[in-house]
Amino acid sequence: MSTSTFFEHLVHDDRVHRSIYTDPAIFELEMTHIFGGVWCYLAHESQIARPDDYITGKLGLRPIIVLRDSNGTLRALFNRCTHRGARVCRDARGSARTFQCPYHGWTYFNSGKLRGVPWPEGYACDFSDGKYNLAQLPRVESYRGFIFGTLNADAPSLAEYLGPAKKPIDEWLDRNPGGRVLVSEANRLKFKGNWKLAYDNAADGYHVVFSHRSLLETENRHAADPNKGMSFYMGKPDEAPMYVQYFGRGHHFKDKRPNVERRPGALWEIEGAQPGMTAYEKAIREKLGAKALRALDLAASEPVNINIFPNLSILGNHIQVFQPLAVDETESVWHATAIVDEANELEGMAHAVNAIRMRTQESFPNFGEVDDAANFEEIQKGLAACEDEWVYMHRGLGIPGRVQKLADGTLKAPATDEVFMREHMREWQRLMTTRPNIVLAR
């Protein structure tokens, strides 16, 4: 059977085969075809703000160092000594002009170029030959602070790859002073399940009132009118103004903003109780008067999920990153963001906004994500039933008029529709049957 026929058997209009979540051989192919073939999110620029700053991470399973070299150029080096393969950098983050491999002392500039090896007279080769430099991603680009990289020399530009997803990303950033944010630590979780379970969930409006029932009940336990958090999913969510949109290339968008009135302060009103919110709200109102509501909305969670295939979800105020560890294990890191107010638009109140914003960002990972992760683990366990082969994602399929094709080619559907999942699975299938033009730069 050819590869394309094989994958055609796994992805159907209404369902996918269990093995795409469980088969180690498919996972290994994904590390080349998906995590080697498309732009992957690597880091946020605020994490490597100055020349020589670096953080270590992974592209698929490849250990990498994402850095700003001494000239300020963004790079993603393989964290793998050219000599014998040891990771040259073992710290999570730091600042360094060079990296020396602790094993035999080969040293590299942070551009990846080999600086020198101990006792070179023992070698007959020419070390100025580029082949001894650290390997690196041929393409690294940033979109408004979000750094992406790919090994695929034939990939489109990052801007083209993001396509219509740029608009909600711009809106997400532009609500903050100066149109930017800083990453400030993270809530880090992992679960025993395939990485796609998290990506499938990213725009899923169907699970909310079930998987997150305990969160909804908790947020609303003191509310006379239960309107806190994601309460707008109660009742008939498909009739609510929120929607799900498929952008192409595996990217999608769950836009819950239309459920919230378009006026300053509306977002703040639906925020659940957070430590410190009353005292800081008072201080912000006293200082900013009529402008206070805008500041308070910045402390509240932005009701969007902007999902960039395969490993990024911008949601609430978080930058969430999906990191596959194995076919059945995934890390889900919720990087928190803080506002920076260099123009002092908030008259010194950015500190107060951030003090609330940190607590609002701890809420979902603690009271929501843990329950999703438990359900992802239960899917992985359920899929061990190998004769029961199919996983269904056909909600909304075949109902006339339910999915609209917009003028820009994107697809729009009611909040609980699974069209986004069916579409990213089609894209997954296309990528799995297309060999990327993987090139290592040195």
Partner: protein, 179 residues
């Protein structure tokens, strides 16, 4: 109305920095034993799922701080694993009691071991350092979490507690129990 304000944060950040100084150490056996007994009672109530009684060990204006970074830092500027005031702790218990917090259905069984208790003077209050080894069984698997803890005690109650997990800056699997 939460009692957490900028002054409260400033006090907590200051109180949990540079407190383990030799000249502040309390060697009095009776005091150390009282502190140890309180920590052991806390461990027992949590292991038995008696969360409301557990919260009774805390002052009215308490905080439970679990930093997410290698150095605890300032929770006003960075997220933590959690930074819970009394209302948030009550929320946490409420959520577990809904029966729909799927990460705890069925609930974890836990055994906590508390050791290496040292007591330090902090003005009118006491600061207690201890080590915690928590063994958790859930969904067919047994795993462990280790931490060093700092309890600030006032009038026989816990008024602030910091849990420094060994894996605080690493990804945690199902961190849904009450720590």
């Amino acid at each position: 109305m939460s009692y957490v304000d900028d002054g409260f944060y400033a006090d907590i950040v200051k109180a949990f920095a540079d407190w383990q100084r030799p000249e502040l150490e309390i060697s009095d056996v009776a005091t150390r034993d009282e502190c140890r007994a309180l920590l052991e009672r806390e461990a027992r109530l949590l292991d038995d799922g008696r969360f409301e009684e557990w919260l009774g060990l805390y002052s009215k204006h308490c905080v439970l701080w679990v930093p997410a970074a290698e150095r605890a830092g300032d929770p006003r500027r960075e997220v933590t694993i959690f930074f819970d005031d009394r209302q948030r702790l009550e929320d946490r218990i409420f959520r577990l009691r809904t029966g729909k917090a799927w990460s705890q259905v069925p609930p974890s069984r836990t055994v906590r071991m508390v050791s290496n208790v040292e007591v330090f003077r902090a003005g009118e209050k006491l600061m207690v350092r201890s080590n915690l080894l928590l063994i958790e069984f859930r969904a067919g698997e047994t795993r462990s979490l280790a931490a060093w803890c700092a309890h600030r005690l006032a009038h026989g109650k816990i008024d602030a507690k910091q849990i420094n997990l060994l894996e605080r800056d690493q990804s945690l699997r199902n961190p849904s129990i009450l720590l």
